[in-house]
Symmetry: none
Subunit: 211 residues, 4 copies
DNA sequence: AATGAATGAGGCTTCATTCAT
DNA sequence: AATGAATGAAGCCTCATTCAT
């Protein structure tokens, strides 16, 4: 077991990233003061600059460290799935919900949306490593279902977007306008209705018309 | 023909609002400098304050002049609609798409999402005057369809959110991550698929189970 | 009788001065906005500049027009006084109180005190035409009383200052800190006590010691 | 010997307060630019905000550090005084004169009078912490003297005002109109005459009439 | 003579970043 | 490695002054 001092030093970057994530998610990039990040991580303002070149670098590190592992996990799940395709969509959503939707990472989508224009290279990174792979997962399930005759035929790439949208909005809303709603919305119900509409909406029927 | 001075005077507010909308959407609320708004409208900083009390008021005016009329128009459409309920949803969407989705106002949802937390005042204003009324419209169509037996029974409030989400995401995406996509997405197709999934997803079937 | 339009034009400067006096007294020089002065006088901002070169000039005009006539009146009273000297002091105070203390001019001393440093030439004007002559009046009464044996001998110039101070403070207070007092002070009682202390304080006694 | 950096750090607040006092007294509260305060203390604008939250706080600190201790000291003097009451008044005046009247703090009364209306917050702070306690001191001496039969009976609260007025005016004058006087006035003589008039004016005589 | 739209300098305050210790 | 004092650029907003009508 390492001496506490030593442990401290090695844990610093992670502690700073966690503090930064919390504040970025809570207040947005511009409104987050580095002094507050440092304070939340229990160090001084100057120390932050020993680990991250500047505010932008800190932001990029927060995003990059945050979210990728969950995607990989879902890719493995999809690869070994054997049941029907709609069930796969449900499993992927469940896992994503428990690993992202119910953790601090839930704030990332809103953060990315808000700042993408100001950080184009970061947006590209996020797109390639998170969004693109996430869309790939949904696309895999859709194509699989269409080929097996479970789903009707539709333009896959666009359908992916339509399917993902309510899931992203659920989180984006939570970190933006939700403060204005007096009635708490129920995310479980929201997701259930979304999947419910999809189950029936995707299903292949007798008098199928090509889209 | 009016004297130029006079003509300017009357055109000023509209010119300023247009400049403000453009910059708000492009850079966000905080990052937009009032001096730049003034410059884009071809006047000096101080002039802006002759027409709008402060930055908040300018923002509210942008919303007031640009978005609220469309909401009101849609409310009128809904009130006098006589056909089936799904057709009403389609008409409302069409109108909203041509008046908002295809204009500079399309950037507002992303703007609101990005800044809501830091400007609760503006968020509340937007919620009350836009979101709340927009949800009311969708809710009206849903309830109407459920009562007539056209739609199956679902939790209305939550379904509203699920239905609106893809429409909002379409715009939010356009003003955030879209720069990372190499293939241009087709909003018409996107909206058609959304409505297609909904048409089938909302429909009441033989073996109906309550949700 | 002149036409109203004509009357208006000739009355403008006086109306503007009255409005300016009111606002200067209420808010001080810097905090008074010329737009408010114009509004109170019922004209537009630009009109003000037709009559006064700038804000400084307006301030000087306010002071210069305001207060001199009362001094002249008191000088006449003193010249023809025949009774005892303390009675003269009381008469002068009474007149000053009713002509200045109970009118809008009461705010001038505070105004001069606050701005003297920023308007040295105006301060000099005020000193020569108001303060100096006011001190002369009190000095006249004091010397008269000392010569007649009614008052004990004291350094006249300094005694003048000591006597005038509470009278000025009464007004200065009213236009500055009085807002912080919960109990309304009674100026009549204040002046009576001041004169009471003076009556006994100035009187020549048996065992007189030179000061 | 302390490192220079460290020494500076500890000296900063006092240096800033001194610079602020000087400029406040010289130019007034509004006309004093924080940048000038910082420059006079030899630091940059931003540094000032490390020590004082804003302009108001800086002002309050000036009062807090400079004037309130003298009030407290005088309260202690009054509490342990055993001689006659007029002597107490003289001692209090002497102490106040040497600690305030002969220092840069002498400019504060004029400053307060000039700015009270526009900064009710500051006025209230000053009233509660300085004026109110100062009046309490004089009131204490007056009541003490009336009870012992040394002074005649008068309305105490109003008499306090009358007594304090010349002392305040002495300072107010020095920081306002004094520049217009060619003959330098002698504050020592002024205060002596004031106390002389008071000594005789307050004294209880044979044929006492209630006021 | 009168208007009021337009200007732009100026001050308070915030905060990312630097650097001496 | 760590600190935190110091810096100064940047933005909102006010208002005296100008000037075309």
């Amino acid at each position: 077991m390492l001496a506490p001092r030593k442990r401290r030093k090695e844990a610093r970057p992670a502690e700073l990233l966690e503090a930064a994530l919390g504040l970025f998610v809570e207040k947005g990039f511009t409104a987050t003061r580095l002094e507050d990040v440092a304070a939340r991580a229990g160090v001084s303002k100057g120390t932050l600059y020993l680990y991250f070149e500047n505010k932008d670098a800190l932001f990029k590190a927060v995003i990059q460290e945050g979210i990728i592992p969950v995607i990989a996990e879902n890719e493995a799940i999809a690869a070994r799935h054997t049941g029907c395709s709609f069930a796969l969509l449900e499993i992927l959503l469940d896992n994503w919900w428990s690993k992202i939707g119910q953790t601090a990472f839930a704030g990332i989508p809103k953060l990315m949306v808000a700042e993408a224009r100001n950080f184009p290279d970061l947006a590209r990174f996020y797109y390639e490593h998170v969004i693109s792979r996430g869309r790939g997962l949904v696309g895999f399930a859709l194509r699989r279902g269409m080929e097996s005759g479970e789903f009707r035929s539709m333009d896959v790439e666009t359908t992916i977007d339509v399917i993902i949208a309510p899931i992203l909005m659920l989180l984006i809303w939570r970190y933006s306008m939700s403060c204005c709603q007096n009635s708490e919305s129920d995310p479980q119900l929201y997701l259930r209705i979304h999947m419910d509409l999809l189950r029936q909406g995707l299903r292949k029927t007798e008098n199928e018309t090509q889209v």
